[in-house]
């Protein structure tokens, strides 16, 4: 085990270095609320790729994929998770290009939904999107708190407070500009750290042959690519991750931050190709943990850390501490800025806050409020898996009509709502984790099918797509896509720092 002092000192040092770098970079570059929230057309391929990798790869990759490998179907489940993590990034290439074309001065997906469909669909998407992103943020805080408690015995509240406050400082001050810059640094440290740390871990475990033999002797299904539970998990996790990521405002912000359509395509593709081996490596630790007999039903969610603390030398454990801190910082700053950006943009859109200076203050104030909420939840050590899967299910039902609405003129708000609600009804009917709540509705309990994740996620997305398709087929209202570019305005009003340089986050 790494000593508590070493873990805390190295954590604070890492946080301090990144925070100072973010503050120094953002100084003089956040002149307007647009810089704080959008950083429009400002990042090249390297910075966009790096920020996408850093934003999507949080500390969750050290928990969920390993748990999948240990308990949900071995290497097949891990492969599904890895591919599932890449698919949303690839889907962002066409839909990101499309939304930039339709609303070049836009800021968020909810803004598109409000203008394209109307207030009812907007409210549904806003609630699901903010719920998902807050859960992501709280999960990251819980993950870092839990990791340092496992590796070095640091109390959860200390870790959550320290990490949350440092991230808050540079995100509230520097907004998206600081987030993208620090993401670039973090990715350049995370990638080699991950490769070297995992390489050292494989060698410490006796090499791939030894890991393979141990896993085969303990449970051959861990390495069976045809293992049915693994295939099922690999399939539904694709839909879970896809829906959630399509409602992730952090990714939509980066669609606009890219300095052109070709940068967007290159960066999202490169990021998609990079996250596959990252998730795969983390997941293989779960296979190794299970093979080594370290995992029990109570400890399967921390399978990765069981290998780190019980088998690997202290130097590798120390690398893991740094890795966890960087992974958390890079995704927490994205979520913090994304949530505050979403609400700020909508307050401006609805005319609640008008001038640029007030908007900037609101944006920073919201960042503080969201961070404090996430710190409070992170320090509790809750299991956030249930909330995460619930948020994923809601997103899986809602994202299809939105994406369809980018292309189909005939899709009305009623059609989009019908698709979303139909998907939600089917998804919730099968969803194991909401069964207790759903059966409280009189007369419903006896009608429900056998609970299972695969039909829940497949049903949510599939039925949503089916009903949306029908709505498009029968819909007659032709939406005028040209109105999107005229109804949306930029908030680019120079504020107090108007003499400062522009907010570019160049490569």
């Amino acid at each position: 085990m790494v000593s508590q002092t070493v873990a805390l000192v190295s954590t604070v040092a890492t946080l301090a270095v990144v925070t100072v770098a973010g503050l120094r970079y953002a100084r003089g570059r956040v002149g307007t609320v647009e810089d704080l929230l959008t950083a429009r057309n400002s990042t090249g391929t390297a910075a966009t790729t790096a920020t996408l990798i850093a934003s999507t790869m949080g500390a969750w990759i050290l928990f969920s994929p390993a748990e999948a490998g240990a308990a949900f179907g071995g290497i097949t489940a891990v492969l599904g998770y890895a591919i599932g993590s890449a698919i949303p990034l690839l889907l962002f290439v066409p839909v990101g290009r499309r939304i930039r074309e339709l609303m070049p001065t836009g800021h968020s997906l909810t803004e598109f939904v409000l203008v394209r469909f109307g207030p009812a669909m907007y409210l549904v998407v806003l609630v699901v999107s903010v719920f998902y992103m807050f859960i992501f943020l709280a999960a990251e805080m819980t993950a870092i708190a839990g990791s340092l408690e496992l590796i070095a015995g640091v109390p959860a509240w200390q870790t959550a407070t320290v990490v949350g406050l440092f991230v808050l400082v540079y995100t509230a001050y520097g907004g998206l500009v600081a987030s993208i810059f620090t993401d670039t640094i973090q990715t350049l440290v995370i990638l080699p750290l991950l490769a070297v740390g995992f390489g050292a871990a494989v060698v410490s475990l006796g090499g791939t042959d030894a890991i393979y033999s141990t896993a085969m002797s303990t449970d051959p299904t861990l390495l069976d690519p045809g293992f049915r539970p693994g295939l099922e998990f690999g399939l539904y996790v694709v839909f879970a991750v896809l829906g959630a990521n399509m409602l992730n405002q952090g990714l939509w912000q980066r669609v606009y931050a890219a300095d052109g359509a070709s940068t967007l395509s290159r960066s999202f593709t490169a990021a998609a190709l990079t996250v596959v081996p990252m998730v795969l490596l983390a997941g293989l630790f779960g296979v190794a943990a299970s093979g080594l007999g370290l995992v029990t039903p109570e400890t399967q969610s921390v399978a990765f850390f069981l290998v780190v603390t019980e088998v690997l030398p202290e130097t590798v454990a120390f690398i893991v501490v740094l890795l966890v801190v960087l992974l958390v910082m890079s995704s927490a700053d994205t979520m913090l800025n994304a949530i505050s950006s979403l609400v700020t943009v909508d307050l401006a859109r609805l005319g609640v806050v008008e001038d640029g200076e007030s908007l900037r203050l609101v944006g920073r104030g919201l960042t503080v409020a969201v961070a404090l909420g996430a710190i409070a939840i992170g320090a509790q050590g809750y299991s956030v898996l249930q909330l995460f899967l619930t948020a994923d299910l809601l997103a899986a039902a809602v994202f299809v009509p939105i994406m369809w609405g980018l292309y189909a003129e005939g899709l009305t708000e009623r059609g989009a709502l019908a698709g979303s609600l139909a998907g939600l009804v089917v998804g919730i009917a099968y969803f194991p984790m909401l069964r207790g709540i759903v059966t409280l509705i009189p007369g419903v309990g006896g009608l429900l099918p056998e609970p299972a994740f695969l039909p829940a996620f497949l049903g949510a997305t599939g039925v949503s797509a089916l009903v949306t398709g029908l709505a498009v087929a029968v819909g007659s209202a032709g939406f005028e896509f040209g109105s999107l570019s005229t109804e949306l305005r930029s908030f680019d009003e120079p504020a107090a720092e108007e003499s400062a340089p522009t907010g570019e986050v160049s490569d």
């Binding site: 391929t45 350049l188 990638l191 393979y212 390495l223 069976d224 596959v276 160049s506």
Partner: protein
Amino acid sequence: MALGPTLFAVIVWGSIGSVLAAFGYLSWLLVTVRRTS
């Protein structure tokens, strides 16, 4: 039918190599842009 040990090794070391390749690609891009700007 389980994977063979060779395929397993390819997956593990191939993933580690791919992560390093991504790091190399990003570094190369950053250096290239710095030089040209």
